[in-house]
Amino acid sequence: MFAKLFKNSVGRKLIMAATGLGMIGFVVMHLLGNFSIFLGPEGINVYAARLQSLGPLLWVARLGILAMAAFHITFGIWLTLENRRAKPEAYAVRKRQASTFGSETMIYSGLLLLTFVVFHLLHFTLRVIFPETSNLIDSAGRADVFTMVTESFRKFPVVVIYLAAMAVLFFHVGHGFKSLVQTIGLNNDKTLPLFGKASPLLALVLVLGYISIPMLILFGLVKG
Amino acid sequence: MILDGKVPSGPLEQKWENHVHDSRLINPANKRKFRIIVVGTGLAGASAAASLGELGFNVDVFCYQDSSRRAHSIAAQGGINAAKNYRNDGDSVFRLFHDTIKGGDFRAREANVYRLAQLSGNIIDQCVAQGVPFARDYAGYLDTRSFGGALVQRTFYARGQTGQQLLLGAYQALSRQIRDGKVQVHTRTEMVDLVLVQGEAKGIIVRDMVSGGLSAHAGDCVVLATGGYSNVYYLSTNAKGCNVTAAFRAYKKGALFANPCYTQIHPTCIPASGHYQSKLTLMSESLRNDGRIWAPGGKGDKRPPSEIPDAERDYYLERKYPTYGNLAPRDIASRAAKEACDEGRGVGATGRGVYLDFAESIQRLGKAAIEERYGNLFEMYERITGEDGYSTPMRIYPAPHYTMGGLWVDYNLQSNLPGLFVIGEANFSDHGANRLGASALMQGLADGYFVLPNTIGTYLAGTSPGAVQKDRDEFQAGMAEAGDRVARLLSINGRKTVDDFHRELGHIMWEDVGMARSEESLKRALAEIPKLRSEFWESVKVPGEAADFNQELEKALRLADFLEFGELLALDALHRDESCGGHFRVEHQTEEGEALRHDDKFSFVAAWEYKGNGKAPEMHREPLTFENVKLAVRSYK
């Protein structure tokens, strides 16, 4: 069946949609987990420790996300190249009627997000960007994620990077969500306009949720 | 020569069945040895090519359009008749037959028309099976509506796009045969001549419209499904590319051209707006089911329609024809509109228009109901005129639309040239002097799906497949002649464009050989057309090259044939010294201005034989005998 999906235009889109949906799911879960920072060190440090204690299960989840990302990126690049080949000559004048900035820049927003994820992993997972504040232990002997995060987001340039990345996420998910709904065939006359509006709204909620963390930290509203 | 229509003997109801039974069959294993050439991919051509492919024949099908899905059948809006009697309103095969014969003013061959009515039901079934989305009622049954010239509701429809949906059904059936390799399709390829070998049609010469190259195609027989010739009037509801060339080339090779004067003027078209007008747009006459036609009662009334009180409006069709009213047949409705305008009661800037008013229906049924029935037509009207047909009456005027005349064929749809079959609008067979609404689709599909596949075998069984190849001299001669014609047109390099000449021809035809013809007007046309033709050959300007995509050259080649054909049309109209159906001679009308037939003198088909350049064509007759209907004065009062 996989081979069948690969060679079919709709099949490839379905792979994009399924992996995209999976990653949106991850982004939602990740955000909910992140909100634990508002509970102070007792929130996020406990959450982090719990995650770590999952052991092999955590690695299964990580590998799953990695696989989804790998498929999403590979197919995204492949389909984009194929689509460009299908439109070799540009119009002298072109007027956009329905497509959006987000829909036409998916490949760029996707690649920017990839870059950001690499940075984010180096920053908070491998902890090599600010090693001095990233490898502390809290009073209960847990990894002090709270200090790592709050110390980072008191640095203005770091916040800018995260804000920019979330802007990119907004455009990517803003088109991506409604696109995947269409691809998995959920649309009809009623749902088309509904998801058309819900998709950027979802992206906005996600992005606002995410940026609330660095912003509140930057303005000193998150205290340990 | 008295022509023999080869109508089978026996009672009317059994002729077709007996004939199919008596027809010769070809062994399935031998069918693939035959190659059949089909020209045209409208309803008739596509359905024939698909059905012949399904039978196992090899088919080469040609069309000038860039896709076989674009033939002008696609523009038919209203519907397709079938004697299903689903409504229990008294319909029957005999009634459809009778309506069609009567509608055609008793100038069609009884047996053909009866067969058409018999096959009408099968067409609906076939199209349903193909997935044509006919309108359905809430219980899921096929819906029907009434249509001009009939008192029963027998017209099946798919919104206002019935022709499109039926054509796509045939196109899809054809596509399946193309996929299976039984049919080869040649798009952007126009037939420029017919090739006869020992008097039998065995191939065609075509021009590749992209490269400009001429090539020959040989087959075991040739089927022309090339439509009508309304574009002889320049402005008509036909597509710009519709032309008479294939049929006229066959005529010049000896095929008889029957009843060219039977042309139909459609009553509900959008009026022309200026000299640049390139074509006229028809709105389905199903609009007449709910619209009321009127003109101001007084001359030169320039008030907007809303300010003309009901008492000062002349609902002339309802007044003159109380039984049928606004549903009077097309020719009657068209002529009545022209009369109103000729009296100075026309509306719109040009004074060539009458009103089609939906106010009363909207009041009675609600705007939503009207919108559901005719929404796309109102949209079309607004796009073209910039006016809203719901709030102000539409303006309409008649326009050339369909041609009942065509190449003469016998009961087998074979012309007098063996191996040349002619189907659909291109032949003359079923509509007599006037076609009823929703009958063109019926005839095209009956010919293509059911008649031709059952009659072509008798001819083919008597031939040996593949006997003629395209290396023969006849093909080389045909190519050379076509090449000369192209070269001659390009070498003139005169002052006037092809369109200039076509407009002039159209003007002559519309004014003198149009809705109302007289001996005087026809003689005038017969004097003017040859003059225009010689001027064309002296001073037309065709730019570009032969071996190129050259649209002006395409038009010039078609117009060259129209310029000869127009004369034949006028000649036939002059000869037919009576009025019947779409052919109205002002000398022959009743006191009320109705068409007056002369059955004693003209109850025959006039089939014209080409006798050579500059020579008068010779007329042959096929007498029309009516054993099953009583000849009556057609009355729609």
């Binding site: 299908a86 497509s99 | 796009r383």
Partner: protein, 246 residues
């Protein structure tokens, strides 16, 4: 009114094309867009120049032959209107109008504004039909079709095959064209039998013919002169998902 036209001229498929400038004088607002081009062409011929080649036939918006991109939009800006039905009253005196062919790899230019759209026929040939031969049909009323299904099918079947969806799509995808055919047939009992095979083969042929993939920009729907909804693409996607079960 007077207009300035910038028109794509290209001698044939092999040579390179370019935009050329023309002046259109005394344009009547009641003219159709193609009639305006007719008049320009008549002038060109009278001046010994080669007229602009463009495709057209029925000029009443149903045959799907006309294929001009006007100011960056296939068939021009007016919604649900083919360019042959676009009238000059929608332009203003002094306007500049850019006229280009429908562009996509699957639609190579034949000459000037004329393109080759045979790829669309090839997609239909691969499976866009019900495999019924003449004579096999039963009575039309033995198959009851709910009115809603017939209407839904008809909505999709209105496609005129002009290819504006492909021309408008940034990816040169024919998904709306394919979706309309797949949806129209799959909604009817006659078309359900072959639905699974049809959706697979048609979408695969679409790629083989050089069309791109759909990424849901919905430019197709906006440009479609018949207003075919992208909901039919969703229906195609559903049909494809169903086909995976078989």
């Amino acid at each position: 009114m007077n207009l300035t036209l910038f028109v794509w001229r290209q001698k044939n498929a092999k040579e390179k094309g370019r935009m050329e400038r023309y002046e259109a004088h005394d344009v009547d607002p009641d003219m159709s867009f193609l009639e305006m081009l007719d008049v320009v062409n008549q002038d060109l011929i009278h001046n010994g120049k080669e007229p602009i080649a463009f495709d057209h036939d029925c000029r009443e918006g149903i045959c799907g032959t006309c294929s001009l991109t006007v100011n960056g939009i296939p068939h021009g800006e007016q919604k649900r209107t083919t360019v042959c039905q676009l009238h000059m009253r929608h332009f203003k005196d002094g306007d500049s109008i850019y006229i280009e062919p429908f562009r996509a790899r699957a639609f190579p230019v034949v000459k000037d504004l004329v393109v080759d759209r045979q790829a669309l026929d090839t997609v239909i040939q691969s499976g866009g039909y019900v495999s019924v031969s003449t004579g096999e049909a039963q009575d039309g009323n033995t198959l009851l079709i709910p009115r809603h299904d017939a209407e839904y099918s008809m909505d999709a079947a209105e496609c005129i095959g002009c290819g504006a969806c492909v021309a408008a799509c940034p990816n040169g995808s024919a998904m709306l064209f394919v979706g309309a055919k797949v949806a129209s047939l799959a909604q009817l009992p006659q078309g359900k039998v072959e639905a699974a095979q049809r959706v697979c083969v048609m979408t695969e042929t679409m790629l083989d013919q050089g069309f791109g993939n759909c990424s849901n920009h919905y430019e197709c729907e906006a440009a479609c002169p018949k207003g075919i909804s992208v909901k039919f693409i969703a229906k195609l996607n559903r049909e494809y998902l169903k086909s995976l079960k078989e």
